[in-house]
Symmetry: C2
Subunit: 286 residues, 2 copies
Amino acid sequence: MAVATLTFADRLAAEVERKRSQLVVGLDPQVDLMPVELRGDVARFCCGLVDAVAPHAVAVKPQLAFFEALGPAGMAAFDQVCIYARRAGLLVIADGKRGDIGSTARAYSEAYLEGDPPRADALTVNPWLGRDSVEPFLVTVRRGGAGIFVLVRTSNDGGDLQDVTLSDGRPMWHHVAGLVAEWGEDTIGEVRLSSVGAVVGATHPRAFADARRLMPRTVLLLPGVGAQGGSVSDLSRAFQSGPASALVSASRSVDYAFRGTGADFRDAAGAEAARLKQEIWTASGW
Amino acid sequence: MAVATLTFADRLAAEVERKRSQLVVGLDPQVDLMPVELRGDVARFCCGLVDAVAPHAVAVKPQLAFFEALGPAGMAAFDQVCIYARRAGLLVIADGKRGDIGSTARAYSEAYLEGDPPRADALTVNPWLGRDSVEPFLVTVRRGGAGIFVLVRTSNDGGDLQDVTLSDGRPMWHHVAGLVAEWGEDTIGEVRLSSVGAVVGATHPRAFADARRLMPRTVLLLPGVGAQGGSVSDLSRAFQSGPASALVSASRSVDYAFRGTGADFRDAAGAEAARLKQEIWTASGW
């Protein structure tokens, strides 16, 4: 099989096996939290984090908002960080939570998942506009190589929409989970995982069993460990479909591990990533 | 009252009265549809459209995806177009459909609605992550001057999420409409309109009456007129809360009005905007 035809999930699974890691490090460059001497240079801060976490994580997840807030220069930094991370052997999950209709969704897919090389390996996608808004991303995913992670149950408290009860008694997010499983059906690769993933907050560990049952072939991206208060216990349910069937994402607890210590930000981030990697691998049961 | 304390809805209402227009022109720079000689210069194309539509529209709505697809240079063009449009006396509604949690939503709010001057007057916001994801935008809106438009029922067909039936028998989007009305309650300005607006697709004219009833003080942004198939009939219901209580948005039908004609793109866009403005004003019943 040629490299170009490997699915995102297959590429991910190979990295998970190689590094024995299911850790994703979110890159959230909040200028006011960064080391004082780097506040003018978000790219340097993020590339430093990439160097530090590359041995321990399978992917980085740059949060687009923090780059966008810095204007065109921030977007240039985003590009630079993505290229740097991929060269360091990390997959890149652009955390943009994009979602729009028709030709606009195609433009987002082009912006992040297409091009030679594409800026990112995967993109987080907001499903609120329904299947026809996700379809342009699915077209790209089916072509091979790229992935998406659809927001199913996010890590925040706000369940005004996601937790509302439907006429059949299910919470709304269960309905969306069913759609995600369906949308991913024709993207299942060699490792029997779909490249249409789902975001399920690690702050809702009781949701893991439901998520796994409703989306048996879906890679679950579990954010909210660390600074957002999620713990790595109860993780094993999320990993029942294989060692690469879930990824645990930590952002601020790694990026800003140096704060309140005298350590170099890279050393602190590397140590925290190494610790989390091991803790997650053990909790995953693989 | 000092200018800085005018709400977005009050500023909008003043422009609607002054121009006798409720037209918003979406700026969707799709390179393959642009005049051949401008394909390398999205900013010039969009600024040409701004010049052409400024007498007829109250706002432009640049679609971020098309700028993002062009990388950092595209984002620089976005900034340039926003500044140009505001100087031309147009309000700017950044169509980003952003939505994220906590500090990330704050970064999006900073990116588009804060700064001196801010890049845009208003931003489209995706509500899927619930109230706590919208709250950082509400903080900015309450401070005065900025607005948001929450996606309630979008103009596409995909009702997989928005149209699903809840346990109380209502469609999901009615529930969201109720939340939007509530979120906007403390932003109601002098003209008795809230600066927390709602997107309701003009392709669902039967939804207008429900939207108006559920969100009596909300500015409705109605996209989908023209290229997406919506017509301007049935509009009067949407305008029942005042001449500025709804805005009709047309994008490709204006931006690409020149195609298939021999006309200059600016002349064609200006003529189509003038025609739509009049048609909408008449249909609005004001």
